[in-house]
């Protein structure tokens, strides 16, 4: 058995049945081995970046490791954005690249790049295989490492001669799990009980730890008002009465107000990202903090904690739930206050009743949320549409919301939706994108067609880079600079060129029929939605500003506003 065949053996051992890749010179031995393998489905994307992003989407939707494969040189460098995306959002991913033969490394050979050196800052770990006999053990360790503790991408760069070399049956190594560190749960519970205004702050770590059920059990038992980060959307489910929604730069006034007023922040699986906290000096100024996370390096990184717990979220949350069931918290005044804030300062968008009115982005998303099935997976790109989805779509599960949180990768949505559709061929998957983002990986329409994936594409087209235009309007004296996309192609014709049917809508009374038509269609379909160029995402906090200083539609100026949710 050669090195390439050992890679497939590792896939079999770990039930890896779907991989996303693109062949080329130095990775050809692996593609040769794939010819005889019936247990691994290889999905051929049309660009290596899409391979990595599809593997990311597959992992996010399924909870399993995503795998992408490319050749050396440009194949490997094209993966980089997708791998960085996975790194920033802690997606478990295995990256396999071919490399020039060992003897040619360092000679500037054809399609040689030092991909190991280039990618040090965007991987959880990486390997350059210099001994073929070590390859099986490296595969085992890499697959385990990518999924353990705080997950992340692990990259294995394999010279072509190592893929071709005969490898003896190996002794397999296994990476050790990080030790848990839960110093004092009794003290944490007593901190929680002492608080009069506790606030649950949850992020992407809940789903990464597969702790959705434990989290909901705790949130229900404790009945603590809660806010979520962009990646935490869906954690509390649709029906949690104490969920105030997303906080941060485009968060709700209610969520940011609750953070400002709380006296205890109970942080679960979140890293206090700057888009969520705003200016740190003014973030949760009255609060003590309990921080529960898989990664000890996140503890005290940006804000000192009063108590930190690291380990299995399921076990930790179960202990809290038990305590809450035994003796519930008495925080009814705080609950009422938060509900009032939610009523007056939640995400609101008037649904325009005027039939001929132009389509408003938020109104479209609210309709989509009402019409699409509960288990629909929405894969977003980056920009205004992404924030409208975060604000106005009601998610019942965090794995239903695929979004590029940390890296903010335009072009993520379409390949990630492809990955999600491969994770479950029967699920409803919708890529909600903008005209700018769509064009960054539009070649993947060919992948959709090739595999006849039934996924739906919705382009909210404002003929510009809307989020950049919005910030230029608000923070750069309305000096528009290189955001105009009014020469976009005809998206309907473009889809049809890939043999994908498409519809165009532009009026409010066409929204329902447009959504229902694409959802009812058995195969892939694209809905091109014209929206206003001038529409903004509200509210907004100036980048680097305090979350107390939210700007809304009534104050389209640079002037800071005072909190209005009292």
């Amino acid at each position: 058995m050669n090195g390439a065949q050992h890679i497939l053996e590792a896939f079999h051992r770990h039930n890896i049945s779907t991989v996303f890749g693109y062949p080329g010179g130095c990775i050809m031995p692996l593609y040769d081995a794939l010819v005889d393998d019936v247990r691994v489905e290889h999905v051929l994307c049309r660009h290596e970046q899409a391979c990595a992003l599809a593997a990311d989407g597959y992992a996010r939707a399924s909870g399993q490791i995503g795998v992408c494969i490319a050749t050396s040189g440009p194949g490997a460098t094209n993966l980089i954005t997708g791998v960085a995306n996975a790194y920033m959002d802690s997606t478990p991913m295995l990256v396999i690249t071919g490399q020039v033969p060992s003897g040619l490394i360092g000679t500037d050979a054809f399609q040689e790049t030092d991909i190991l050196g280039m990618t040090l800052g965007i991987v959880k770990h990486s390997y350059l295989v210099d001994d073929a006999d070590a390859l099986p053990a490296i595969m085992e360790e890499a697959i385990t490492l990518a999924q353990s503790g705080r997950p992340g991408p692990v990259w294995i760069d394999i010279p072509k001669n190592m893929l071709l070399a005969e490898v003896d049956t190996p002794a397999l190594a296994k990476a050790s799990e990080p030790e848990a560190d839960c110093p004092d749960i009794a003290r944490a519970i007593s901190l929680l009980r002492a608080a009069k205004k506790p606030l649950l702050y949850s992020g992407g770590g809940v789903a990464l730890a597969r702790a959705e059920d434990s989290f909901r059990a705790f949130a229900t038992a404790a009945a603590i008002p809660g806010v979520v980060t962009l990646k935490g959307i869906g954690n509390p489910g649709k029906n949690n009465p104490f969920n105030l929604g997303m906080l941060g730069m485009h968060g709700s006034r209610a969520a940011n107000k609750a953070v400002d007023e709380c006296d205890l922040l109970f942080v679960v699986g979140a890293r206090l990202d700057d888009r969520a906290t705003g200016k740190l000096d003014t973030f949760a100024p009255k609060a003590r903090m309990i921080h529960i996370d898989a990664d000890s390096a996140e503890i005290n990184k940006l804000r000192p904690v009063d108590l930190a717990m690291r380990g299995d979220l399921n076990q930790i949350l179960a202990a809290f739930t038990e305590a809450m069931v035994e003796e519930p918290l008495t925080i009814s005044n705080w609950q009422k206050q938060c509900k009032t804030w939610h009523t007056t300062g939640g995400f609101q968008a008037a649904d325009n009743e005027e039939a001929l009115a132009p389509i408003a982005g938020p109104a479209f998303i609210r309709q989509l949320s009402r019409i699409a099935p509960d288990d629909t997976v929405i894969s977003c790109d980056v920009g205004q549409h992404q924030m409208w989805v975060a604000q106005h779509y009601e998610f019942d599960h965090p794995r239903h919301h695929l979004t590029s949180g940390g890296l903010g990768t335009m072009g993520f949505g379409l390949p990630a939706a492809i990955g999600a559709q491969f994770a479950d061929r029967n699920s409803t998957v919708i890529n909600v994108t903008g005209d700018g983002s769509f064009m960054m990986n539009a070649q993947e329409l060919a992948t959709i067609r090739r595999y006849n994936l039934p996924l739906k594409l919705i382009i909210l087209d404002n003929q510009c880079l809307g989020m950049v235009r919005q910030q230029q309007e608000l923070f750069y004296n309305n000096r528009e600079s290189h955001i105009n996309l009014d020469d976009n192609p005809d998206f309907v014709a473009m889809a049809r060129a890939f043999d994908i049917p498409a519809l165009f809508i532009e009026r409010t009374d066409q929204i329902r029929r447009g959504i229902e038509t694409i959802l009812a269609y058995k195969g892939p379909m694209l809905l091109h939605v014209a929206i206003s160029r001038e529409e903004n995402v509200w509210p907004i906090v100036k980048p680097g500003g305090s979350n107390k200083e939210m700007i809304d539609e009534t104050r389209r100026t640079n002037t800071s506003t005072k909190e209005q949710v009292a």
Binding site: G117, L120, D130, L145, D295, A297, N300, K301
Partner: protein, 92 residues
């Protein structure tokens, strides 16, 4: 953050044991740089399957946070903060 920006720069000595792997030293140096520190002195000895590295660093960020980030590296077996060497004045 530029490590050159502050007029007074705390200095630290870190001892780090790493597994012998491709790019081990680069990985270490990359984390030190990106987390806001500058290496002013570095010695390295190969000891069997390990590398023992002593770093003298300057930086105004929390050195314990740097240690946490270094400990996350799969190739790092051990990180120890040997001493806080004091504050060194640098020109702005």
């Amino acid at each position: 953050m530029s490590p050159h920006a502050d007029r007074s720069m705390p200095s630290y000595t870190l001892n780090c044991r790493m597994h012998q792997e491709a790019a081990a030293l680069e990985r270490l140096c990359q984390v030190v740089r990106v987390r806001g520190f500058r290496i002013s002195r570095m010695t390295m000895e190969s000891a069997g399957e390990h590398l023992d590295i002593a770093l003298t660093l300057e930086g105004s960020r929390s050195v314990s946070m740097l240690c946490s980030q270094l400990e996350k590296l799969h190739t790092v077996a051990e990180v120890a903060l040997a001493q806080e060497s004091g504050v060194r004045s640098v020109s702005a």
